[in-house]
């Protein structure tokens, strides 16, 4: 039993934190949000230089062979700094799909470029009416003479606008919601027939609704076996969920720390408002939520790499239930305890509020995971 980060993990976490504290201040981030792309190529290049993009990938592709726990401190720092660059989409989801389902040729084509910061990925999965059911897929791929032709629509593809390639789940057989007959394809974002409607999300990420109209792809665009992609999707989404839990922990930490600081400095009736017991107890409960969330993120990141599928599902769902609850609790309390100031665009807590709100229902909300958790017995 050991809950400490290793020296290497700690060093990396520190360098990420230092970089973010210096070059990713709230003001700097504001400028990034207002830019056309909504993220910074320069920051992305720095991530590549720091080795963050290669962290979980094998050394033969230029990576460092890290596991989910190695990514945890990075994700926490990203959460704390409200980083809007497409780290989870590219490294946690896209790259993971390639690692777990890709052919040797696909890995060689994708991973070194990704690690160098020259290639970004996004996962196009969600469809109208699907909610969080990963098997609910209507988009279709039909076999053609030399590949496949893809038609369908995907919604809220996070970081879709900046992605070079999309990993798209489609149906190659059977009907909507059937566990069988699902396949994954790697499709260039600018391929003919791919059209994007881009927008900002409430937490200031960029996303797109994407239509695929007669998009032709070669056979080697298929990731994994045709028709058998669901277990791979579930596994990779669980992996990304565990990482998202770690990101949430960082954001919760910020909201909690900032609120504590505010309670100590904001004065009313001639005293710091933190001297009021009504607020003290609420602050303590935020701290407890943070500790419990941290415990569940640890559990999820440790188990997501090592457990069998049933145990992995059970633990990741348990973590997401707790994290979703903690996201809501801490974000709401942080705004309440900041009073009117907490509602303003000027204060970072209002941004953290929005990020935590969306994290709570990314990859399944608490209700979804309660259902899945119960089904694991």
């Amino acid at each position: 039993m050991n809950f400490d980060y290793t020296e290497e993990q700690q060093l990396l976490a520190n360098s990420v934190k230092q970089f973010l504290a210096k070059d990713y201040t709230f003001e700097a981030r504001k400028a990034i949000l207002q830019s056309a792309a909504g993220y910074s190529e320069q920051v992305w290049a720095t991530f590549a230089e720091m080795g963050l993009l290669g962290l979980p990938f094998a050394s033969e592709y230029g990576g460092f062979g890290g596991n989910a726990v190695d990514l945890m401190p990075v994700m926490e720092a990203i959460g704390e700094g409200l980083v809007v660059e497409p780290y989870l989409a590219t490294v946690g989801l896209g790259g993971r799909f390639v690692v777990r389902g890709g052919t040797s040729a696909q890995k060689k084509a994708i991973l070194p470029a990704l690690i160098e910061g020259k290639l970004k990925l996004a996962f196009a999965q969600t469809e109208r009416g699907a909610r969080y059911n990963l098997a609910h897929i209507a988009a279709r791929a039909k076999k053609s003479s030399n590949g496949y032709v893809i038609d369908g629509e995907k919604g809220v593809v996070i970081h879709g606008p900046c992605a070079d390639k999309l990993i798209v789940s489609v149906r190659t057989a059977r009907n909507e919601t059937d566990a069988q007959g699902i396949s994954l394809f790697l499709i260039d974002q600018n391929a003919p027939g791919v059209s994007l409607k881009t927008y900002r999300t409430v937490d200031n990420l960029r996303a797109a609704d994407i239509r695929f109209s007669g998009v032709t792809v070669p056979i080697d665009a298929l990731i994994g076996k045709e028709g058998e992609a669901l277990p791979l999707i579930e596994e990779v989404v669980d992996y990304a969920t565990a990482l998202l839990c770690a990101e949430a922990v960082g954001a919760i930490k910020y909201a909690s720390d900032a609120t504590l600081e505010y309670l100590k400095t904001r004065k009313q009736f001639g005293v710091p408002i933190g001297s009021f017991q009504a607020l003290q107890h609420r602050m303590v409960d935020m701290m407890i939520s943070y500790e419990q969330a941290q415990s569940m993120a640890c559990l999820a990141c440790v188990k997501v790499d090592s457990a069998d599928a049933v145990e992995r599902r059970r633990v990741v769902s348990a973590a997401k239930i707790k994290i979703a609850d903690a996201c809501r609790h801490v974000s709401q309390e942080s705004v309440q305890l900041h009073g009117g100031m907490g509602m303003t665009e000027e204060l970072k807590v209002s941004h953290t509020f929005r990020r935590l709100t969306t994290i709570a229902q990314t990859f399944g909300d608490a209700d979804h995971h309660l259902e899945r958790f119960a089904a694991c017995e």
Partner: protein, 392 residues
């Protein structure tokens, strides 16, 4: 990061588990699992079984019978005992009076009391709270006036758990009524419960049980040799106890057993032809408690890991008490909900079949309201975290 116990720790866990399997008497385990009231003999019998094995006070120094266990081993032992359904060890002698004697007692006091505490020869109770001094313990008024070689004690204690069984009581008493701060002038005094002038009056709680009492002191003559530590500096002793061994307040082993039991029962209980456990409304509540328990277990292990690494976790360990007791209460509540209308029967009047198990559920639920009140109410725990840990 590694959440698993080491091979040595796992071997230790198996040793404890196997030993409990053969040495925990079935009738005691039954009583615990079915929420029946344990009597004095039950507690003492289990105490003596553990004492014989040498496991009754592992946290004591080895010279007094302790085991040189790591904090993790101690945690494993407590959790295994809880999970197996052992009767709880009454903490007043083993975990409260003894640590005080070890830290503050004279050699004579140690020799006189510790072996008898270890062997379960004396049953101890704790005289802290008073009618006017609950959370504000330092405002206590029970007086002890020095008269020659004795103290004369007058006053009243309340919520004295198992005083009706006790041979001895340790008390916080006021030896100086004119000290400046209320924390000053308090002393830590040991009293034989057979001393003339001590009266125990039961306080029956809403579960019908007599767990707590009022204890009255009328001109009780206590030899001055029963004073522990310096006269007037009893608050130091009280504070020492508060900080002592708070790593197992989460009672995760017990809650795991209760949760497993609840699931089993909810799977048998039918609602509209389907097991209650498949009812989404019930199931969600159950799952949320289970998730809280998973989180608390990891949090507890994280604190243990810090402690083992030489970093004493701060007041935030109070969260183990807060969360642990919330979980315990939630489980008793769900047990009552599980039993539905059959949570109402309490005691049979006519002879005949009677389900003593479901009849124990609501009393248990009633009784467990105590957990968020005792040992520093959960609000006091939040005060402690706010002050000590958050600096508010």
């Amino acid at each position: 990061m590694d959440l698993n116990y080491s091979p040595e720790e796992l071997a230790f866990r198996d040793e404890v588990r196997n030993w409990l399997r053969t040495n925990l008497p079935d009738d005691l385990c039954e009583k615990v699992a079915n929420y029946q009231e344990l009597d004095r003999d039950d507690y003492i019998r289990w105490h003596k079984v553990l004492a014989k094995k040498g496991w009754v006070a592992p946290e004591w120094p080895v010279e007094w019978g302790g085991k040189d266990w790591t904090v993790v081993q101690r945690y494993i032992f407590e959790e295994e005992c809880g999970f197996a359904g052992c009767p709880p060890l009454i903490p007043f002698g083993l975990k409260m009076c003894a640590p005080v004697l070890l830290q503050f007692g004279t050699a004579e006091q140690k020799h006189r009391f510790l072996p008898r505490i270890y062997n379960g020869d004396d049953f101890w109770c704790q005289g802290y709270s008073e009618p006017g001094s609950g959370s504000d313990l330092a405002s206590l008024k029970t007086s002890a006036v020095r008269q020659g070689d004795d103290y004369i004690v007058n006053g009243q204690k309340i919520w004295t758990t198992m005083a009706q069984f006790a041979d001895w009581i340790f008390c916080l008493v006021r030896t100086d009524a004119n000290s400046g701060k209320k924390q000053q002038g308090i002393s830590f005094l040991l009293m034989d419960m057979k001393t003339p002038g001590i009266t125990v009056r039961p306080l029956v709680l809403m579960d019908g049980g007599n767990e707590v009492n009022e204890v009255f002191f009328d001109d009780v003559r206590v030899p001055a040799e029963n004073l522990v530590h310096k006269e007037g500096d009893g608050w130091t002793v009280a504070k020492y106890l508060l900080g002592y061994e708070r790593m197992n307040t989460g009672r995760i082993g017990v809650s795991k057993r209760e949760l497993a039991h609840l699931k089993e029962l909810a799977a048998q209980q039918m609602k509209d032809g389907k097991p209650l456990i498949e009812d989404p409304r019930f199931r969600d509540k159950l799952s949320r408690v289970e998730v809280e328990l998973m989180a608390l277990e990891i949090t507890n292990l994280r604190f243990l890991d810090q402690l083992r690494g030489g970093r004493t976790p701060g007041a935030e360990v109070s969260l183990l008490k807060i969360k642990g007791t919330e979980i315990q209460q939630a489980l008793t509540e769900l047990m009552v909900q599980m039993a539905g209308p059959f949570a109402q029967p309490f005691k049979p009047i006519d002879a005949g079949d009677f389900d003593y198990f479901t009849a124990g559920l609501t009393p248990r639920y009633c009784n467990f309201r105590k957990t968020t009140i005792y040992a520093g109410s959960n609000e006091i725990q939040r005060n402690i975290i706010a002050k000590m840990s958050l600096g508010l």
